[in-house]
Amino acid sequence: MKVIYKRPPVLTEAYFKYCGGCGHGIVNKLIAEIIEEKNWLEKTIIVWPIGCSVYADQYFNTDSICALHGRAPALGTGIKRALPENLVIVYQGDGDLVSEGFSEIMHSAIRGEKFSVVFINNAIYGMTGGQMAPTTLLDQKTTTSPYGRKEEESGAPVNMAELISQIKGCYYSERVAVNTPQNILATKRAIKKAFEYQMEGKGLSFVEVLSPCPTGWKMKPTKALEWLGAEMMKIYPLGVFKNPEVAK
């Protein structure tokens, strides 16, 4: 019998603690598959954030360190500078990356730190119970924007993949989504490219993943996927915003 679908051995036997329909689990598995296919397990160090992926160290057979909220890129800077030959993956949510740790991610790009960032944009704070993030859409209701996000009060959603692509030290920036099988495959390709660029010694490689949070959005998982495709993608278009290899 031919095995066509299996748990990548880079993952442990532990069950994911994510909610049903959450995008984190999909992206975690893609990362594990890429590490497996590239045979990079022994080289990999994953820096996890504070957010719903805080227990992800339990799921991976790679070395894992969990950073303080927002500080994963600073921790990653230290690790990559100490071990330039290793694969350092910095994984962050949107509260983590765009709010608490905005300075750390931007300056990591400014310095051209040679690690890869996997950025989960779910337009909300999942772990703390569904508060507003800088990525929350206008009029989107959260527990701290109960009447919908208003631009006059909280500004407009932040397009990180475009923003960071403007920084010279950022080598590669792409936005993908995990709402359909095709998009999930494209996400895998993007993350793989980011890791490859890192191992080639290029600058910061950045992948923004639009990711459903049915619990925070108070939607059924299927509805969450629809909302992601219909509403999020209007504000956050998919695409490559920086890739010198293609421009050449």
């Binding site: 397990l41 022994e42 080289k43 990999t44 160090i45 820096v47 996890w48 504070i50 805080v54 227990y55 160290d57 339990q58 991976f60 057979n61 790679t62 070395d63 894992s64 360190i65 969990c66 950073a67 303080l68 500080r71 600073a74 921790l75 990653g76 800077t77 230290g78 690790i79 990559k80 500078r81 100490a82 071990l83 290793n86 300075s103 750390e104 300056h107 400014i110 310095r111």
Partner: protein, 348 residues
């Protein structure tokens, strides 16, 4: 024998760290500690060092956490406001068991304050500063030579206990020049079984400070407390001067201990029986130094409103016998000023 040189406190500290095998420095400029990053930046090419000028102290403290997680020696240096920004990471590194060395060249606060010598960060360094139950080993040199020696010691202790270590210097010590013997160059061990280096030929390692329920996290805390008890039992350091026959014992750390020594000499010349206890580890506080000293009066002097004096009171039998004199804002007492205070005490 190490090399004899004439050097400024901050430069001697940086040079000693390099000789102790600390190749990594991350920091943000602030007076009076800026010679530390400058020294690393200047020596980077010849010595194969990694120096990064961080965007903030918040970042710098998390960068050193990253390097420490790989088992390599790493340091940051800052002063008052920058030390405050690092507190979240100090709490983190303590919980995570990350052996980084942090220099705080104290200047007078609160807030931006001023840039001369002060010791107002004693509580912040010794009592925590960040959130949660944790302790940092705190070393307080009083000369440029001791700054160099304690820098080497700081890395040894950090790795021995997997705990951050603070070197608490001040603007006076940092800026003065003295002759000293530099430490020998060493190549430190970087192979530990707990590091982030890639799971090659071993099971994968995990470093996390996220509790998994109250039972697990209480046990984690208990293990930390057990470590702190071991450090408190084994690592108290101090120097005592003429305490054997003393009726009054001065207690002072860091640069103000130099002034206290001057006052003591003058008092001794006048026939007054005065001694000094100079704490070298501020945490663990050297309580052992006070054992058996039940008949003496204690005179504590600091460059603050009275911080270490609380630990002295906890270390003696009769806290009524402890008095205090301090200066703040960058002012330092003269030896005569302290001598006059001793005379007042003696007359009582």
């Amino acid at each position: 024998m190490g090399e004899k040189v004439f050097m400024q406190g901050n430069a001697a500290l940086a040079e000693s760290a390099i000789r102790a095998g600390c190749r990594f420095f991350f920091g943000y400029p602030i007076t009076p500690s800026s010679e530390l990053p400058e020294y690393y930046a200047a020596k980077a090419p010849q010595e194969n060092l990694v120096f990064v000028q961080a965007e903030t102290e918040v970042a710098a403290f998390n960068m050193i956490a990253g390097v420490a997680s790989t088992g390599k020696r790493v340091m940051t240096g800052t002063s008052g406001p920058g030390f405050s920004l690092g507190m979240e990471a100090m709490s983190y590194m303590s919980a995570a068991g990350l052996p980084a060395v942090v220099v705080n060249v104290m200047r007078p606060g609160p807030a931006d304050g001023d840039i001369l010598a002060a010791q107002g960060d004693y509580f912040q360094a010794v009592k925590g500063g960040g959130h949660g139950d944790y302790n940092i080993i705190v070393l307080a040199p009083y000369s440029v030579q001791e700054t160099a020696d304690l820098t080497v010691k700081a890395f040894e202790l950090a790795f021995k206990y997997r705990n951050p270590v603070v070197i608490l210097s001040d603007a006076m010590l940092a800026k003065m020049m003295e002759s000293l013997e530099l430490p020998e160059r060493i190549t430190p061990n970087e192979n530990y079984d707990w590091t982030m280096t890639g799971a090659k030929g071993r099971k994968h390692n995990v470093i996390t400070t996220c509790g998994d329920g109250p039972i697990q996290w209480e046990n984690y805390n208990l293990a930390l407390q057990k470590k702190y008890k071991k450090i408190a039992d084994n690592e108290q350091r101090w120097e005592s001067y003429q305490v054997e026959d003393a009726e009054i014992i001065m207690v002072a750390f860091g640069s103000v201990a130099r002034i206290a020594l001057g006052a003591m000499k003058k008092a001794r010349a006048e026939g007054m029986k005065v001694g000094i206890i100079r704490p070298i580890t501020l945490w663990p506080f050297p309580q052992k130094a006070f054992v058996g000293l039940d008949q003496q009066d204690f005179f504590v002097t600091e460059l603050n409103a009275g911080q270490m004096v609380e630990d002295v009171k906890l270390s003696v039998k009769d806290k009524e016998r402890v008095s205090f004199y301090g200066r703040m804002g960058g002012m330092t007492p003269t030896p005569n000023e302290l001598y006059e205070k001793l005379c007042e005490l003696y007359r009582k």
